[in-house]
């Protein structure tokens, strides 16, 4: 019961962060601030969701898997953000008239 409540609260909090990150992605003016919104907010959001789901886990294996998922997502998001930022330094081009 308590675990269910914790799950609702934490995943709810995670969703708020995702929502904020998405708003940032849409509203921020340039690539760099958008990236900032995405990586910061979404990584945190995913962390809360993983934490919330951890209360429903039925064993250490599931817990480890959740932790692994979060860490891999962090690793990938960090790398991709760097690469996107570097790509954004070169001027964009439209390929269709």
């Amino acid at each position: 019961m308590v675990t269910d409540l914790a799950t609702y609260a934490l995943t709810g909090l995670g969703l708020v962060f995702f929502w904020a990150g998405t708003i940032g992605l849409i509203r921020f003016p340039d690539t760099f601030s958008r990236l900032h919104a995405l990586t910061k907010a979404d990584n945190l959001g995913l962390g809360f969701i993983a934490l919330g789901l951890a209360f429903q886990a039925d064993g250490w294996a599931t817990l480890a898997m959740l932790a692994l998922i979060w860490m891999l997502a962090l690793l990938a998001a960090g790398t991709v953000a760097q690469l996107v930022a570097r790509a954004a330094l070169s001027p964009p081009e439209e390929d269709e008239e």
């Binding site: 891999l72 690793l75 960090g78 790398t79 760097q82 690469l83 081009e93 439209e94 390929d95 269709e96 008239e97």
Partner: protein, 308 residues
């Protein structure tokens, strides 16, 4: 509740698909397509088809996405002519709607047939996962041909190299700074990816996974390692590369021929050895799939982009 979820998911899938078709700019179109593949994978999970979900996410969204993104980047650097922007096309719209309506009608008109009875035959294959049983036993001939289709595509891609480049390393040169983020990612990912990919192959016998899904994960590892400069891109002439390309279909085909030589039918695996034999075939297939997919994505031998 679950119907509402499915409706929302399908609505989302259709929206991003629409974005992929009519969105402004090819880059956006590609991004929509990748999103589409990931959403579709969730749809497959909702349909209870976990193996398909994995395949769609890894191959449909992941590799096809990388392929399209790389191609778009290369086209942009080549200063090609721009494609004309076209307005709505009523003829095409009518055709598309007609086919969609015909398929929709067929859904309601078709009776649900009796599916082939897998349950009785599956124990003979030693597989717990019926999808793997179908892929490697009941429809092994499809799967063998499919692994060779990948090779045919690769040969086709190689034939697109310029003659002067033929002996050059495969694909474009990527410049990853030695101490940069990409380089460290390229060193960090392979051990994780290798274990995950191998796990998928191993698990595929009884649970979710299989040679194609595992092979795709391994291909992604190889790709990242090459882009990060950790793994030098191979050349067409390298014997190791070419052996890796054919080992999967080769072992599969030879096992089928061995069965003929032993007086059984083509591609027959007797129940006694079915499980270990399948595992050997799957491991060999995984190696070939991983290497073939990776070199398929990095493209033909290429010395440098031309200056136009």
């Amino acid at each position: 509740m679950s119907l509402a979820l499915d409706l929302a998911l399908c609505g989302l899938i259709l929206c991003v698909a629409l974005g992929a078709v009519v969105g402004r700019g090819v880059f956006r179109s590609v991004i929509f397509f990748i999103t589409y593949g990931l959403l579709l994978a969730i749809g497959w999970a909702r349909l209870g088809a976990k193996d398909v979900a994995l395949a769609e996410a890894a191959i449909g969204a992941g590799l096809t996405g990388v392929l399209l993104l790389t191609a778009h980047g290369r086209l942009r650097r080549m200063s090609v002519e721009r494609a004309p922007r076209v307005g709505p096309n009523p003829m095409a719209a009518t055709t598309g709607i007609a086919v969609a309506l015909a398929l929709g009608w067929a859904w309601f008109a078709l009776p649900a047939p009796t599916a082939p009875d897998l349950a009785a035959a599956l124990p003979l294959t030693g597989m717990g996962n019926p999808v793997t049983g179908v892929l490697l036993h009941f429809r092994a001939w499809d799967t063998l041909l499919e692994s060779i289709v990948l090779l045919a595509a690769l040969l086709g891609v190689w034939m697109l190299a310029r003659d002067v480049d033929w002996h050059a390393p495969l694909g474009l040169r990527y410049h990853a700074r030695p101490g940069g983020v990409l380089a460290s990612f390229g060193r960090l990912l392979p051990p994780i990816g290798l274990s995950f990919g191998s796990y998928l192959v191993w698990a595929g016998a009884d649970g979710t996974g299989g040679a194609f899904q595992g092979g795709t994960v391994l291909a992604a590892v190889v790709l990242v390692a090459m882009m990060a400069g950790v793994l030098p891109p191979p050349r067409v002439a390298q014997g190791g590369l070419r052996a890796a390309l054919v080992v999967g279909p080769g072992v599969f085909l030879l096992s089928g021929l061995l069965a003929v030589a032993l007086g059984m039918g083509f591609l027959t695996l007797p129940p006694a050895v079915a499980k270990p034999a399948t595992l050997i075939i799957e491991v060999a297939l995984t190696v070939s799939i991983a290497v073939t997919l990776a070199v398929l994505v990095i493209g033909p031998p290429d010395d440098k982009e031309p200056v136009r």
